[in-house]
């Protein structure tokens, strides 16, 4: 806040509130979370943040007025305040007071490097996610529905200690070629798509993707599975896609240490994939996770090479590497692993089998 000359932050978004205060902010369902939100007020120079708790409903005039009063009591009206969401009721209640700026200007840089505690929370969430998947994996057989897998995954995750889950579990059946669809705006792969009561069929290649939160910090789990894998081993071509995925991850990790530009990681990944970008067109090679499921640093987005070049790795940054090896006509391989940048390299925060691909 000092660097950006921001005097206070008024935060509404769940991940931001949890980051600023550690409070257990409701996440499900998002419509409830929009209604029933604790608002964080962080005042420069004060050691502890304020939580303006329900009854504060920032969407509604009467409640937004209460929020504005709380802020006015603690922050001078000439101050610059960073806000992440500014509802119409808030605009009305705050009036012309305060210079309002995007909270992301402060939160973005602050969240870039994780403390050891934060990394431990991410690891704890990931571990629960991985353990739950050990129970789900044997269910992946002909006739099981996507929502049946979600049932088992969610039950196990919460029993193991998850506080919330970040996305509806994804168990996407991948086509063998882009021409099969679904149609996309960019002509490349669609992923992730919502799960339904669709039954999986023997031989289907599924890309799974799940996210849990423990103490506000998220996991991000991704693997490629083959339905009925006990009787159907990956083909040579599928295995080659899997090996190529590891080549890309290894080449990327080889570059990871403080001081390196993220553009260098992107180049290493592309080179390891024979000159073809090994990631989803609308996403990235890598993103971080924290109290939000997708945080900076993000590598390979449409922010472009110049952005990636100025994004320099520091100790404490989190990299959720998620390359995608697409082999049009023969499907592809996708998985995600999480790493933290250390003082001289990296450490893994995820640890899960690549079955049915590895022996």
């Amino acid at each position: 806040m000092d660097r950006q000359n921001v005097d206070a932050l008024v935060l509404l978004a769940t991940g931001n509130v949890q980051y600023a205060t550690g409070i257990d902010a409701p996440r499900s369902d998002s419509s409830r979370a929009y209604n029933d939100r604790p608002v964080a007020l962080v005042v420069r120079g004060e050691r502890k943040p304020w939580i303006v708790e329900p009854p504060v409903f920032p969407d509604f005039d009467d409640s937004a007025a209460v929020l504005a009063n709380h802020v006015r009591e603690r922050v001078d009206t000439a101050a610059r305040i960073g806000v992440d969401e500014f509802t119409w009721a808030m605009k009305q209640a705050f009036g012309p007071a305060f210079g309002v700026v995007p909270a992301a200007a402060v939160l973005g840089p602050a969240k870039l490097s994780k403390t050891v505690d934060e990394l431990a929370c991410i690891r704890a969430a990931q571990r629960i996610n991985e353990q739950a998947m050990l129970d789900v994996y044997p269910m992946v057989r002909d006739g099981v529905r996507q929502t049946d897998l979600s049932a088992a995954f969610l039950r196990r995750s919460y029993e193991l200690g998850a506080d919330t889950h970040g996305i509806d579990p994804v168990w996407q059946v991948m086509p063998m070629s882009l021409a099969e669809g679904p149609w996309t705006v960019h002509g490349h792969l669609a992923f992730p798509t919502a799960s339904t009561t669709r039954a999986l069929r023997d031989g289907d290649v599924i890309w799974c993707d799940t996210s849990l939160q423990v103490d506000g910090y998220g996991s991000d789990f991704g693997r490629t599975w083959i339905v009925g894998a006990e009787t159907r081993t990956p083909t040579a071509r599928q295995r080659a896609q899997y090996e190529r995925w590891h080549d890309v991850v290894d080449a990327t990790l080889d570059r990871v240490k403080p001081g390196v530009s993220s553009l260098e990681l992107a180049h290493a990944a592309i080179e390891a994939n024979g000159g073809v970008k090994p990631w989803l067109h609308h996403f990235y090679l890598s993103h971080a996770v924290g109290t939000d499921s997708a945080e900076m640093p993000m590598i390979g987005t449409d922010l472009g090479a110049a952005f990636d070049e100025q994004q320099i790795l520091q100790a404490g940054m989190v990299l959720v590497l998620e390359p995608v090896i697409w082999d049009d006509g023969y499907g592809g391989y996708r998985a995600e692993d999480i790493f933290a940048v250390t003082d001289d390299g990296w450490v893994a925060l995820s640890d899960h089998t690549y079955a049915p691909f590895e022996d």
């Binding site: 409830r32 119409w88 919460y158 149609w183």
Partner: protein
């Protein structure tokens, strides 16, 4: 209108066209309210609003996010434009040209929005919320536009439920009842909270509807009673209710859910309430908020107290949708 091949093609409500038909009705309601408020365009950011405007079923994510344009409705063309990378889960009424992709770069998002027919010329643009950088983004795309509060139009359009919507809420309630049964059975076995939460989520997911309206499902009271809140979504419509076990046998008089009743009156009766439809909606009647809110006929209300909550259709003869144990 041809139906697209999607992951949803085996879902009965999509096969029959019910989802598409419902979306058409909702879109027309929105356009009517946009006319009332003289909005040339409406930009909404929340998943439920996107669903209401288009019928789109997108991947569910938890928590709230800063405002960003997820759907644009243009009055002059009557068309909806959606932020979606693929057409999966998008009713075929929304053409491919009306989908804009996911961008991390604001310049690319701005270019995509600028290509929406009718938006650059718009003079009054309603939004469902805002963020500090947003007026500048819109100013670059629609230089003539005055940014105004679009929430009135959205909430008025969503407030009164059609028969089809109430039917979906009833289906969600049915799923929630099964999950409540499962939790009670677990409770009877002496299950701890984590296990009961797991049982609840498993139950709704096995019904094909894995998304929970709230994760605050179980509360153990000092007197040993246990409060359970069960809920589910069917095609985005929520059905949730609360009971405390053992049941006390007492419950509130639903005649209070008549049109014209104010929030202050509900609170005087010891009740709190919030609207229900595509999730939680206005009005919100709770300590510190909603005194002046007025119940509208045809709305659905989640109403009750800390012990017992029901879903009620507001009307001169209010209809209880959650006739579960404790309210029969």
């Amino acid at each position: 209108m041809s139906r697209r091949r999607t992951n949803h093609e085996h879902c009965p409500l999509w096969i029959t066209g019910a989802i598409e038909d419902g979306a058409q009705v909702s879109r027309e309601r929105l356009l009517e309210e946009m006319e009332t408020d003289e909005l040339d365009a409406l930009i909404v950011g929340r998943p439920a609003d996107v669903r209401f405007a288009t019928g789109a079923r997108q991947l569910w994510t938890a928590g709230t996010r800063p405002f960003s344009p997820a759907c644009v409705i243009v009055r002059s063309t009557g068309r909806t434009h959606v932020l979606s990378v693929s057409d999966d889960g998008i009713p075929s009424e929304v053409s491919h040209a009306e989908l804009y992709g996911l961008f991390w770069n604001p310049a690319n998002l701005a270019a995509a929005l600028a290509a929406i027919p009718g938006l650059p010329e718009a003079k009054r643009v309603g939004t469902s919320s805002s963020a500090p950088g947003f007026p500048k983004l819109i100013g670059a795309i629609a230089p003539l536009a005055e940014l105004v509060d679009g929430t009135g139009a959205v909430w008025r359009a969503r407030a009164v439920k059609t028969d089809a919507e109430i039917d979906l809420i009833r289906q969600a309630v049915s799923v929630a009842e099964g999950a409540m049964d499962a939790m009670r059975a677990a409770l009877a076995r002496g299950a701890d909270d984590r296990h009961m939460l797991g049982v609840y989520l498993e139950s709704i997911a096995l019904s094909g509807t894995p998304i929970p309206p709230t994760e605050r499902v179980i509360r153990r009271n000092d007197d040993g009673s246990v409060r359970l809140t069960s809920g589910a979504f069917v095609e985005g419509y929520e059905g949730a209710f609360t009971r405390t076990f053992p049941l006390s046998g007492e419950t509130f008089d639903v005649t209070v859910c008549a049109p014209g009743t104010t929030g202050a009156q509900l609170k005087a009766a010891g009740l709190t309430a919030f609207g229900t439809g595509l999730g939680a909606e206005p009005p919100v009647i709770a300590p510190g908020v909603g005194d002046d809110a007025t119940l509208v006929a045809g709305g659905v209300l989640n109403v009750g107290d800390a012990v017992h909550r029901d879903l009620v259709v507001i009307g001169d003869a209010p209809i209880v949708l959650t006739n579960y144990a404790g309210r029969t």
